[in-house]
């Protein structure tokens, strides 16, 4: 609110001055001096209101304006009195204002840029040297050459532009260091710019013909002072002395263009002088150009050094990344990072602190923690000059980030390796167990069959009469032994088969098989047993059934088991019929008997090992037959089911898939459907 009112008031004052100035000597002097006082009051009010961190910077500026005010007040007396002395006491006050304003800018610059920067001062110096040369050409040299002027007149005349150049240099230094993209600073810079420009016009006016427009120049100077006051009233005025945002590392191209143009000024001045037939001041020009060349060389050296440093830093960081990738284990990683830290930071105290073995030192300029999941294994600390803080902090942050990632990766890899080791160990143990089980099955097979071989063999020798004649009950009893030896042998076979199924070792040796013919062979084998019980054994097979991909030995075992089962449980003169037909995508084997049947409640347990139905009167068999049939059917991807009615008969169905029986190459299995 206050600022807006002041803005409006400033506009009105400038407008009024333009109107009043040409005709009213008293009016314009009163207006001008009051406005200057207003600007001073505005600065004091702003400082009290917003409390900037270094108020003396603003107060120096206010002091400078105050000097101008004294000068203007003295001059007003002369003007109203109709006198025009040169130089007058007023000039000394005017001249005293510039150093004060420059001092304010220097203080502000120090505050805004605590870190020493080399670019901005060099650039400001380049501009200042060129500007001074211009001043030499147009003010200093002509003034010195003018014999009509007294020494005092010469000094005062020269002092004005020289002080202008000093303020310009200081202002440029201020503007170039940090961003001044803030309302108050924009107003301030604009105010200073108007003041300096007005002075320039005044300097030129001393010799030339701008007298009619002198009030426009005065208005410009007035607006400059008012803008400085407005800047102090704006809430953002504290930015003048607050640390500004850090400038970009790279020099903007437009600044390089500005420097180049400024460096072209000396020859241009000489050419213009020559065209005007004025003195060329070649020695002075040469001196200025040598100074400029020195400054440009310093500037380039500085840029190159910085680029080299940056490149070195990048190279070191790349090297560090590569070393991190190569390193293994926490200690090695930390060692790599520690080395990179010391190497990168260059000057100053920089190091890596392992939090597990030492405490983190306090009061370090930079402290960058290395963060990993669940902790801070290390902290990077540095105690360096303020100018190096940013560069070192950037490097340390990069190192810390890389180290954190590497440590986490190492941790993960470690876990994975441990898990893999555990799995390998487990796998080895399982293989060993598997091997032992196979070994066991094979040993049992051998150990059981060896005594059986002797029993069966010698029994046969005895029964064949090789050891003398065998009579009556002797033969009958020995035949019982022989029969049971056979049964024991079958039991061993069945148990070994089941053990193989349990061990997942039932390997199928599949081939393309005509299921009908295979079944027919089993039926023929069973004819003897069926005929012994006068059982009618029927067989029919669907001729159109395509060949199936099965293990013929196992399939025969399946048929034999089902057939012997059916014949066993079917009374004399019963019927057993075997059918093989295609049903959709399956081949269906059906074995139907007119046997004793199975009670409904027991069907669920029928395929369990050693299960015997309560209706089973014949106790011969191992009790493993149906469970083996089921295992074989399932190993082929098939199913087995049963229908039974007590006293009527039982039917077993085995369904074998035709499609899934197509032999699958591994590649075919992987191909998309």
């Amino acid at each position: 609110m206050l600022w807006r009112s002041a803005l409006v008031a400033s506009f009105l004052v400038c407008a009024a001055y333009l109107v009043v100035a040409p005709d009213h000597v008293v009016g314009r002097n009163v207006l001008y001096n009051t406005a200057e006082l207003g600007a001073i009051v505005a600065i004091v009010v702003g400082v009290r209101r917003y409390r900037p961190s270094a108020p003396h910077a603003w107060l120096f500026v206010a002091g400078g304006i105050f000097m101008f005010w004294i000068g203007d007040s003295l001059w007003a007396v002369y003007e109203i009195a109709g006198r025009n002395p040169y130089p007058s006491p007023a000039d000394f006050f005017y001249l005293a204002g510039y150093p004060l304003i420059a001092a304010g800018l220097v203080v502000a610059t120090r505050r805004r840029m605590p870190i020493l920067e080399t670019q901005a001062p060099i650039d400001a110096a380049i501009v200042a040297v060129s500007a001074l040369l211009a001043v030499w050409f147009y003010v200093i040299a002509p003034t010195l050459a003018d014999s009509t002027l007294s020494l005092t007149e010469k000094v005062v005349t020269i002092a004005y532009p020289v002080l202008d150049v000093i303020v310009l240099a200081v202002a440029l230094r201020f503007v170039m260091g940090r961003s001044w993209n803030v309302t108050a600073l924009r107003l301030l810079v604009l105010g200073l710019g108007l003041t300096l420009f007005g002075d320039l016009l005044y300097s030129l006016d001393v010799e030339s013909r701008l007298t009619n427009q002198i009030y426009i120049v005065d208005t410009m100077l007035l607006a400059g002072v008012l803008l400085i006051g407005l800047a102090a009233l704006h809430p953002s005025m504290t930015a003048f002395t607050a640390e500004g945002a850090e400038p970009e590392e790279r020099t903007p191209v437009r600044r390089l263009i500005l420097i180049a143009s400024v460096c072209l000024l000396p020859p241009v001045l000489v050419v213009v002088q020559a065209l005007r037939d004025k003195p060329l001041y070649l020695v002075t020009t040469l001196i200025a150009m040598v100074i400029l060349a020195g400054l440009v060389v310093a500037r380039l050296t500085f840029m190159t050094t910085r680029a080299t440093l940056a490149a070195d830093r990048d190279a070191a960081l790349s090297r560090y990344s590569a070393e991190l990738l190569r390193a293994n284990g926490r200690d090695e990683l930390l060692a790599v990072a520690s080395r990179a830290t010391t190497e990168l930071a260059g000057e100053g105290q920089v190091r890596l602190v392992r939090t597990d073995s030492e405490s983190v030192p306090k009061d370090q300029a930079i402290t960058v923690p290395v963060e990993v999941l669940g902790g801070e294994p290390a902290v990077l600390v540095a105690d360096v000059k303020p100018a190096d803080v940013r560069r070192v902090r950037d490097s340390l942050t990069t190192i810390a980030a890389g180290l954190g990632l590497a440590l986490e990766r190492d941790h993960l890899v470690d876990n994975l390796r441990r898990a893999a080791d555990a799995l390998t160990e487990q796998n080895k143990r399982l293989r060993e167990l598997d091997r032992m089980k196979d070994q066991f099955v094979s040993s049992v097979s051998h150990e059981l069959r060896t005594p059986l071989t002797s029993m069966v063999g010698y029994l046969e020798l005895v029964l064949d009469g090789e050891a003398g004649a065998v009579h009556g009950d002797q033969r009958r009893f020995l035949e019982v032994v022989s029969r049971n030896c056979d049964r024991l042998n079958r039991l061993v076979d069945d148990i070994l088969f089941v053990a193989r199924v349990d061990a997942g070792r039932l390997s199928l040796e599949r081939e393309s098989v005509d299921l009908g013919r295979l079944a027919a062979e089993s039926v023929e084998t069973a004819r003897g047993a069926a005929a012994g019980k006068s059982i009618d054994l029927r067989f029919s097979a669907d001729e159109s059934l395509p060949p199936v991909w099965v293990d013929p030995t196992r399939m025969t075992q399946l048929f034999d088991n089902l057939l012997s089962n059916a014949i066993k449980f079917t009374p004399e003169a019963g019927t057993v019929s075997v059918t093989i037909a295609r049903e959709g995508d399956t081949a269906r084997l059906e074995v139907r008997d007119t046997g004793v049947g199975i009670p409904e409640g027991e069907i669920g347990s029928l395929f369990d090992r050693f299960f015997r139905a309560s209706t089973s009167v014949v106790a011969a068999g191992t009790g493993l037959g149906l469970s083996i049939v089921k295992s074989i059917a399932e190993a082929h991807g098939g199913t087995i089911s049963v229908e039974s009615e007590e006293g009527v008969g039982t039917t077993f169905f085995v369904d074998l898939p035709l499609v899934a029986n197509v032999p699958l190459e591994p590649a075919a299995e992987e191909a998309p459907a």
């Binding site: 094979s442 051998h446 069959r449 071989t453 063999g457 010698y458 046969e460 020798l461 040796e509």
Partner: protein, 131 residues
């Protein structure tokens, strides 16, 4: 009966089994059928006997100490003197892959334990009669 050269008019059969009872069973049956039987209790002994006596046929157990029946068959086949000697393997294993391995190693026939002595005799006769 096992002396070299003696009764060479009778065919000589080498029987090898680490089980004494089975070895005697084989020997008894074959001698009754008119063969001279050389007995070996392990694979190495059988190999030495085969080299020394050059029997007309060998009945070898598969699971024997020192040298098993498969390996023994392979070695006998590799040696000039015994490369043509017929070999019958006795296997206690139920798996058909054993039979395949037996034929691969060069056996002429095999019998699964427990076997019928008569059957063994018949097979021996069949092979020797064929020659």
């Amino acid at each position: 009966m096992t002396e070299p050269g003696a009764e060479r008019d009778r065919p000589v059969v080498l029987a090898a089994d680490d089980d004494e009872d089975i070895l005697e069973l084989v020997a008894f049956r074959l001698e009754r059928s008119g063969y001279t039987v050389l007995q070996a209790r392990d694979g190495e002994e059988a190999l030495e006997l085969a080299r020394a006596e050059k029997p007309d046929l060998a009945v070898l157990d598969v699971m024997m100490p020192k040298l098993d029946g498969f390996e023994l068959t392979r070695r006998l086949r590799a040696e000039e003197a015994t490369s043509k000697m017929p070999i019958i393997l006795l296997t206690a294993r139920a798996q058909d892959t054993d039979v395949d391995r037996g034929f691969e190693s060069g056996a002429d026939d095999y019998l699964r334990k427990p076997f019928s002595p008569q059957e063994l005799s018949t097979r021996v006769q069949a092979i020797l009669g064929r020659r």
